[in-house]
């Protein structure tokens, strides 16, 4: 009974991953690409983990998926922040703004 819901949520996660990859391919700037990469990819992996957890209703799977979700939520904003700052710094250097500011 839960299987179609699980498959649908997994499909939603993979479609989100595809949208994130399209954003990385198509967006014009490093900052915008980083935005697409970190936020949409985090959501995609979390939704996919939720779908797998609904497919396999087993405590061994559920706890591991919860650990994966906790690690993603705790660490991906850090990496995203550092990446955004590096992108901003690099854009300032390319445009010569760091000679002024």
């Amino acid at each position: 009974m839960m299987d179609p819901i699980g498959w649908a949520i997994c499909g939603l996660g993979s479609v989100l991953l595809l949208i994130a990859a399209l954003g990385i391919l198509r967006l014009p700037d490093a900052l915008a690409r980083q935005h697409a990469a970190t936020k949409a990819v985090t959501l995609a992996v979390l939704v996919f983990a939720l779908g797998i957890g609904l497919l396999a209703r087993d405590p061994a799977w559920t706890w591991r998926l919860l650990a994966l979700a906790c690690i993603l939520i705790l660490t991906l904003p850090l990496a995203s922040h550092a990446l955004a700052r590096a992108a901003m710094r690099e854009r300032m250097q390319v445009s010569g703004l760091d000679q002024i500011l």
């Binding site: 997994c10 690409r33 983990a49 850090l78 990446l83 690099e90």
Partner: protein, 163 residues
């Protein structure tokens, strides 16, 4: 099973786009973004593998991939940022001999603190290297050697003036 195959195909398409961004990114940050999405594709593929094979070992692989991905992205971003500040690794090189120093000098103290390596560490490095730099002063404008933290060799003078 066919739905899992669909997931694998979608993840493969995303991995192709990530590889394109990794290979053809104009700046170094774009390459790190491509690496990030490749890690995400690997996590989703290992989740799919765990469901297809019915083993929980691949979930542990996914947890390890998540940890390694965050650490890798953080360290690469920090390296790019420090390189862009002092002019060392990656990005556009400042070709004039004093260009990078001027950009480094005119930065506000808040920005300089944002480098993240810690000001105390930088101060200690500056102090220990003062004497050897004074002796090799006549290197001329061609002497643009920098350490791996991205600070050019000749920028010690302005730092001493500022501090």
């Amino acid at each position: 099973m066919s739905l899992s195959m669909l997931f694998v195909l979608i993840a493969g398409a995303s991995a192709l786009m990530g590889f394109y961004r990794l290979l053809a990114g104009p700046t170094a940050t774009d390459r790190v973004v491509g690496l990030d999405i490749l890690f995400a594709v690997a996590i989703i593929l290992s989740l799919t593998a765990s469901w297809v094979s019915g083993r929980t070992v691949y979930l542990d692989v996914a947890i390890g991939l998540a940890l390694v991905s965050s650490v890798a992205t953080l360290s690469w971003a920090r390296l790019i940022q420090v390189g862009a500040q002092g002019g060392g690794l990656g990005g556009k090189q400042v070709d004039a001999a004093g260009g990078g120093q001027d950009g480094y000098q005119l930065r506000s103290p808040g920005d300089r603190r944002g480098a993240g390596w810690g000001d105390a560490k930088r101060d200690s490095r500056r102090d220990t290297r003062g004497d050897s730099r004074e002796q090799s002063q006549d290197g001329g404008p061609g002497d643009r050697r920098g350490d791996i933290w991205g600070h050019s060799q000749g920028s010690g003078q302005e730092q001493e003036v500022r501090s």
